[in-house]
Amino acid sequence: MTLGDLVAILPQTVLEGLLLGFVYAMVALGYTMVYGVLGLINFAHSEVFMIGAVIGLEVFRFWGNPAAPVIANPFLLLLVALLFAAVGSGFMAVLVERFAYRPLRKRGSKNILVPMITAIGVSFLLQDLTRIYAALRHNEFNMQYRTYEALNQVFELPFQTTIQMKGVLIIAVSVLMLIGLTYLVNRTKLGKAIRAVSQDMQTAALMGINPDVIISRTFLIGGALGGVAGVLFGLLYTNITPYSGVLPGLKAFTSAVLGGIGNIPGAMVGGLILGQLETLSGTYLPFLTNGNFGTEYKDVFAFLTLVLLLLFRPQGIFGQNVSEKV
């Protein structure tokens, strides 16, 4: 491959990275919101995301059977799928908070390991519950999204790049959601309450804010975003398993840390950066190393970047530097 070829594929690579980055960004928001409020790495968020993907898949199967569709328009179908996934995943997240995390909060364990282990436990539980569901319902482990021509339609863009309709939708939906969330957090009463609780839970209570309610809403919003991201992820990569959430979840969490955990714009930027890092290194590493180090190293690349960044800027790109009062 010549240098010219490498340059020629750059725009398309960046575009792919952008799509991936937006998916990460949406999932990262869920992590960052929960972390901001509770200081908890909600490992179960990757499963909330995966469950969103499964819900979306079921909507497409129930109402979008190409032979006898209930909803014939694939765009409408997608909208319904997104709605159902948002509601389903949101409620799932609320349930997790109510039954796994809140009891811990009431018991007041200061050990950060306790909620984290619980989160891991919830994550396992949800994975296998989904697996049982998939086994009983579809008798299979892998679940495939249906494909629709309208969604796979290809557009030609400048610089010899192409994008599928679903790619356009991913960008559109995620940008809309990011704008919506920013508005919600910065302008609405609920958003301000979320920020107040995340900055100082006790003082927020002195304002008449019930922290439990706010935390619950935070999980609802984060979960809903995760659900929507799940559907879009499923649409993009078509294959979903009960363990599909793990890796994207990890990447999304990494994005959140990159951007400065607890910081909403940071999560978006972190996601976009990680998406680029991963696609660029995945595409170019094999060429640059004569095929000796293949695409498999893209995760190594992503994590090493994270470590390097944290060493020089422990609070992430946008994070606040908080020092403990002595």
Partner: protein, 477 residues
């Protein structure tokens, strides 16, 4: 009420022992024996009686196992007695040592020589326990959350796996084609300690500068990096043989053990030749026991030294620890390297025992499992780490499988339970496949109801109780 517990336990235990002698094959009797073990361990029983009862129970269960090596319940009972004499307070040390040695070196081998599953289980528990003890130093004592701990296990395994197999000849010219002879394993166990400790320092140097959650995510990432490297370093130079893994890995010679077994007339006793498969199982069982013994000793000694105290101090309050002159990074690195060393040595043994190393054994899931052993057992507690490993291992490769078999039997015979015909139970419901579900549920319930673990370390118990009290009465100041 309490006054009746002792005589009742005595009577019940006597009854179940008599039952065992009369009707050794009955499941009911086995259950009664299990219940006796629990009663003797947990009831209010005078120390001297307790020692005697445990000995009687151990003897009975051993007899049952000898009669029927496949009797799993008897095996679990024996495990229970072992744990009881390991952990119960106020037992004379002599009784602990004598009973423990007898169970580990007599009872288990007696049955294991005909049913190698018991050795297998013992080896698994031992390996996991050593990993848990290693992580216990890092997480339990020093309070450093490491989510990539399996990496050190991998380093140990590959250290022997590469050089004790034809693999090394792939990239080192003139290396013996079949790899180093199996007896080099002993040397490589020492080397694995060193390589793993060095890896610990290398990972720790950047990671340990970060606080709490960031440390967790970075160790997780670096653990994955080690796995990805193992998975892909088959090119440009074939070091790890990639995803196919390395096989066969050499094992030490066990001629001496075969001779020993012949000398004591094992073949006559069992009426059949002891094949090399069982001999190897026995060998690794003994090796793992030896190593775990050393690991426990080291763990106890460190905990009661200035290093152990410094680790706890750092866990409790980093700022106060610094004000006491404790340098944070070196002290944390020491914990990291120590923990890594424990899992490194077990990695080398694991490679030899399996005769096979592949990246699949060292996933994130493995790291989290090890963490769960520590948490379930009780953070910081040495006994807890061992019990946690034993409990989860028995659950995963013992109980869940048994339950699956039971369900299958019901399905085939069409038993009706609560008006539901088990024959209609979907075949997808196979508990053995859903260990994560059970595991996840256990983790959640434990964290909610007993966050200090099964066998809490004194210090953690205090922390948890204080926290609970404060939560009830409002935040800390």
């Amino acid at each position: 009420m309490n006054g009746y517990i002792f005589p009742f336990t005595l009577a019940f235990t006597a009854l179940s022992v008599v039952g065992a002698l009369l009707r050794p094959a009955s499941d009911l009797v086995n259950l009664a024996l299990l219940a006796s073990v629990a009663l003797v361990s947990l009831g209010r029983i005078p120390t001297s009686w307790r020692s005697g009862l445990l000995a009687v129970l151990a003897l009975t269960l051993t007899l049952l196992l000898r009669l029927n090596p496949g009797d799993k319940l008897a095996f679990y009972g024996l495990l229970g007695v072992l744990i009881a004499c390991f952990l119960l307070p106020n037992l004379p040390t002599l009784v602990r040592v004598a009973l423990g040695t007898a169970i580990l070196f007599i009872s288990v081998p007696i049955a294991g020589l005909t049913n190698s599953f018991l050795f297998e289980l013992g080896i698994q528990i031992g390996i996991f326990a050593a990993l848990a003890l290693g992580l216990n130093v890092v997480v339990g004592q020093a309070g450093l959350l490491d989510l990539g701990f399996a990496a050190f296990f991998a380093i140990g395994a590959y250290t022997w796996g590469i050089f004790g197999s034809p693999q090394a000849a792939q990239f080192i010219e003139g290396f013996p084609a079949g790899g180093l002879p199996g007896n080099y394993l002993y040397l490589f166990m020492a080397l694995a300690i060193i390589t793993a400790a060095i890896t610990g320092v290398l990972i720790g140097l950047p990671a340990l500068r970060l606080r709490g959650d960031y440390l967790a995510i970075v160790t997780l990432g670096l653990g994955e990096v080690v796995r990805v490297l193992a998975n892909n370093l088959d090119k440009p130079l074939n070091i790890t043989n990639g995803p196919q893994g390395i096989t066969p890995v050499n094992r030490p010679e066990v001629g001496f053990l075969t001779q020993f077994l012949q000398a004591i007339g094992a073949e006559q006793v069992y009426g059949k030749p002891i094949d090399s498969y069982i001999t190897y199982a026995f060998f690794f069982y003994l090796l793992v026991l030896l190593v775990i013994g050393v690991v426990i000793l080291v763990n106890i000694r460190l905990a009661n030294s200035r290093f152990g105290r410094a680790w706890v101090a750092i866990r409790e309050d980093e700022i106060a620890a610094k004000a006491m002159g404790i340098p944070l990074l070196p002290t944390k690195l020491l914990a990291f390297a120590t923990g890594a060393a424990f899992s490194g040595i077990m990695g080398a043994i694991f490679a030899a025992k399996q005769t096979f190393v592949s990246p699949e054994s060292f996933t994130l899931q493995a790291s989290i499992n090890i963490l769960a052993f520590v948490i379930l057992g009780g953070m910081g507690s040495i006994g807890g780490a061992v019990v946690g490993a034993a409990a989860v291992t028995v659950l995963n490769i013992g109980l869940l499988k048994d339950f699956s078999d039971l369900l299958n039997t019901w399905r085939q015979t069409g038993v009706t339970i609560l008006g539901y015909n088990m024959a209609n139970l979907p075949p997808q419901l196979n508990p053995a496949k859903y260990e994560r579900l059970v595991f996840g549920l256990i983790l959640i319930l434990m964290m909610i109801f007993r966050p200090e673990g099964l066998i809490p370390e004194q210090r953690h118990r205090v922390e948890m109780q204080e926290a609970r009290q404060e939560a009830k009465e409002g935040g800390s100041k």
